[in-house]
């Protein structure tokens, strides 16, 4: 891998003499993430490769595709959204499949560390407002420059979640209640359709002691209601125990909304609540999907199996949203 990466890097990074410390970080069979260092006389350059190896051309139906991800990340970087710089989009001559190389951004993505470690104590109170501003930046990206992306509406999202849930053939009265509620409260097309990141939450945000450093993983980017991103980042599944701080367990909706509004964009709190309910159902259905893949797929791992047992967490969150108890 290092030899192939070294040949690739030599073609676009002037002065680079090779590649060291290539480590595979994560990913399934169809997509890989590698970390490596480009050896350079001016000092090594930390880099990340995100790629689909040859023979794994078909991305999941929801995925924007790696070339679109690279374009979005570069557009975001150019617009001042905290993002890794894209260094190179893979070409056939690289013989590395499809994908791209980006600059490695140092920082933390593990929620429990971000929420508990002293290192991030100064960043935590500022994060919700900062995330609001960053989302406004993403939603303000020039629509005419975007790559081709799926257009999504609330109605389409409800239909997709219902189809996935029904395919599990495991009755869940709480999910049925949520599906009904979502249909009855569908706010219709948004006043403005924008780029939506689609997975703006812990795990995809690199945080440093100074705050948000980079937004990652544009795989689920699409065109749709910008309030979806605000609702998703407030979903209880990303609060990691800090349930009274809706934004990622570190901040309030008011701070998130203030940061969004200060960047010149309008918040619709009812739509955000709608997408938060959708978010809980979506994560619950995704957990069910993990369970399916554990049973039927090649990844017969304990982790996947145990994620299947997390659907019930979203059921209690849905009940707290839709049928709150007093006391």
């Amino acid at each position: 891998m290092e030899a192939r990466l070294g040949r690739c890097v030599a073609a676009w990074c002037a002065g680079a003499t090779g590649v060291v410390d290539a480590v595979r970080l994560s990913g399934g069979a169809s997509q890989e993430t590698w970390s490596f260092d480009i050896v350079h006389p001016d000092g090594n350059i930390g880099a990340i490769l995100r790629r689909a190896p040859q023979g794994y051309g078909a991305a999941p139906a929801r995925a924007a595709g790696l070339n679109a991800e690279a374009t979005l990340m570069q557009l975001a970087y150019d617009a001042g959204v905290p993002s890794p710089r894209v260094l190179h989009v893979l070409q056939p001559a690289d013989e590395l499949g499809t994908g791209f190389v980006m600059a490695r951004v140092e920082g933390e993505t593990i929620p429990r560390k971000i929420l508990r470690d002293a290192e991030f104590a100064a960043a935590r109170p500022k994060l919700a407002r900062q995330l609001g501003g960053v989302l406004a930046g993403i939603h303000g990206l020039d629509m005419t420059k975007l790559p081709e992306l799926r257009g999504m509406t609330a109605a389409k999202e409800i239909a997709e979640l219902e189809r996935d849930y029904r395919s599990f053939e495991w009755p869940r009265p709480v999910f049925e209640l949520a599906l009904r509620w979502l249909r009855e409260h569908d706010p219709g097309p948004p006043p403005e359709t924008t780029l939506v990141h689609g997975d703006f939450r812990h795990g995809n945000l690199i945080i440093g002691p100074d705050g948000l450093r980079a937004v990652l993983d544009w795989e689920l980017a699409h065109l749709g209601d910008p309030m979806e991103d605000l609702g998703w980042v407030c979903t209880n599944s990303w609060r990691f125990g800090e349930i009274d701080k809706p934004v990622g367990g570190f901040g309030s909706r008011e701070e998130l909304f203030a940061g969004y509004a200060a960047a010149g964009r309008r918040v619709d709190p009812d739509r955000v609540k709608f997408w938060e309910v959708m978010g809980s159902l979506r994560w619950g259905v995704m957990c069910g999907g993990m369970m399916q893949r554990f049973r039927s797929g090649p990844d017969h791992s304990m982790e996947r199996a145990m994620i299947g047992r997390r659907s019930s967490e979203t059921e209690i969150d849905l009940l707290r949203l839709l049928a709150p108890r007093s006391g």
Partner: protein, 123 residues
């Protein structure tokens, strides 16, 4: 009748061994996997201890709610269909309470440390 120790006692002994004696020996990705494995064993012990009572209570509530007889799976399917069809909703007497009790019973097994669960059992 099978002999003792019970499955709960056996699984708990294995989980405690892994937790107390193996965990300190393991580093890196395998330490993460080991933790997941121990969590799975703990979940199984909770289910073995709690499921019989919670299933019986859920079945009794479903029979009352639906005015019908059947297995837990059949009655859950019937309730799901009624909600999907709009024949039952949160105004239906007993439905919200049933969903709450059923969900709390699931969390008691799946994830008793989940923040929302800890808040709700305190009510």
């Amino acid at each position: 009748m099978q002999d003792e120790p019970t499955p709960i006692e056996l699984i708990k002994a294995v989980a405690d061994f892994l937790r107390n004696e193996i965990t300190p020996e393991i580093k890196g990705h395998h330490a993460f996997k080991l933790r997941v494995g121990i969590n799975a064993l703990d979940l199984v012990t909770r289910q073995l201890a709690l499921q019989q009572d919670s299933d019986a209570a859920e079945l009794a509530r479903l029979k009352t709610l639906l005015g019908a007889d059947g297995s837990l799976a059949e009655l859950n399917r019937a309730l799901a269909e009624k909600i999907a069809g709009g024949e039952a909703d949160l105004q239906t007497p007993g439905l919200a309470e049933h969903l709450w009790q059923t969900t709390l019973a699931k969390l008691a097994v799946d994830q008793p440390n989940y923040g929302s669960y800890k808040r709700e059992v305190g009510k």
